[in-house]
């Protein structure tokens, strides 16, 4: 069975390491924060100018001066620090953020990503996504393997306008975990009960399958 959003987040959380500074995008990536292993020290960066993001505030404790990059009211953890947007993207550009997790509409077998614009539709803007994908040392994409019509979103080349080129390192979709290698998508794990054949059928880009592919165990 395909993973739900919580399970995708949970699987991505396994990529975290103690001491990591992590930027989590809007949507599924945000949920990753809920699965940081107990005792592991992970600092969340919000690109609007915060290191040390905490959970949502309790009702009645919302602070209009304290939001995340998704404009949601949040809190901070001890050791947090505020800074301006130039320093925020400065530390991103300098590779100080260890891991960036974000969503995508399409990813290509070369690691290109498209997630900001659909021709013919109202374009809201790239926000900080282009900066993040161009600079992050390690980018994991959380996404659905196919669109609602069942068409693959893991492509030989993106059809939508790009957000960044050759930057995605890993994908955790509802069906599989894949690395982006010089030889295309490399299948690492599959969702429980999802066959390698189904993943092959739903991956339009070049897919490498080597040996036994284990199921993700939760």
């Amino acid at each position: 069975m395909a993973l739900n959003k919580e399970q995708i987040a949970k699987r991505i959380a396994r990529e975290l390491k103690d001491g990591y500074y992590v930027n989590l995008g809007i949507g599924i990536p945000t949920l990753v924060a809920n699965y940081i292993p107990a005792g592991m020290d992970v600092v969340l960066q919000s690109e609007n100018g915060l290191l040390g993001m905490g959970p949502f505030p309790f009702e009645g404790e919302e602070d209009p001066d304290l939001i995340n990059a998704g404009k949601q009211t949040i809190t901070t953890v001890p050791g947090s620090v505020f800074f301006d947007s130039a320093m925020s993207f400065g530390m991103i550009r300098a590779g100080k953020v260890d891991l960036t997790v974000l969503g995508a509409m399409e990813v290509s077998e070369r690691g290109d990503i498209a997630n900001w614009k659909i021709p013919g539709k109202m374009v809201k803007g790239m926000g900080g996504a282009m900066d993040l994908v161009a600079s992050a040392r390690n980018i994991i994409v959380a996404m659905m393997h196919t669109n609602p019509k069942g068409e693959s979103k893991l492509l030989p080349a993106c059809s939508l306008p790009l957000t960044g080129v050759g930057c995605v390192k890993k994908i955790v979709s509802d069906l599989a975990v894949l690395d982006i290698t010089p030889h295309g998508f490399q299948l690492l794990e599959r969702a429980p009960g999802v066959s390698v054949e189904e993943i092959k059928a739903k991956t339009a880009g070049k897919l490498m399958v080597e040996g036994e592919i284990p199921e993700i165990v939760f």
């Binding site: 959970p55 404790e61 919302e62 939001i67 947007s85 290109d112 109202m122 809201k124």
Partner: protein, 232 residues
Amino acid sequence: MNKVVSGAEEAIRDIADGNTLMLGGFGLCGIPENCINALVKKGVSGLTCISNNAGVDDFGIGLMLKQKQVKKMIASYVGENAEFERQLLSGELEVELIPQGTLATRCLAAGYGMPAVFTPAGVGTEVADGKESRVFNNKEYLMEMAFDADFAIVKAWKGDTQGNLVYKETARNFNPLMAMAGRVTIAEVEELVPAGELDPDHIHTPGIYVHRIFQGRAYEKRIEQRTVRTRE
């Protein structure tokens, strides 16, 4: 040297049709509410506005959009605004979308007297169209130019009579960067104090960058996405 003005009306007195304005804030957080309201009241038009976002329909820059005061919007993200969308699709409004980090860094460049900066954001995308790119250490970068704005309008938490500014939490965002980048910088603050009351080790914007300052009134500080958790 008297930087203190009576209020928003006096602060924006010489902003004219066709000017380029920078407006601080991220979403509705840390926006110069008083000055925006005064600009709406003044009715100045044909403006180019540089701001990370464009407000919502009935708050922030959205109020200026509703009155069709904005000719061109330079921003990184412009969702959350139906009137904006309407004007964009009808061709009434020109929009330039640029990566958020590029927006921030082009402000920094202006404030630090650097005519251009290099960033990898947008390489290989349509953002790179028409821009000079350059490879350093096997990585490609775009050359992005410093902004040049007639006025920067920012909102700080506290300020002093010398124009020194302190921001609160994530309401800092673009404010200190734009404060440095305007030819004329106007700061509205929640609390204006005499020079010497702010800790000189902890001022975010030195007054040398600020030309006019006033204590704003009746801040609404609207929350765009109220998210909470429930007590167990």
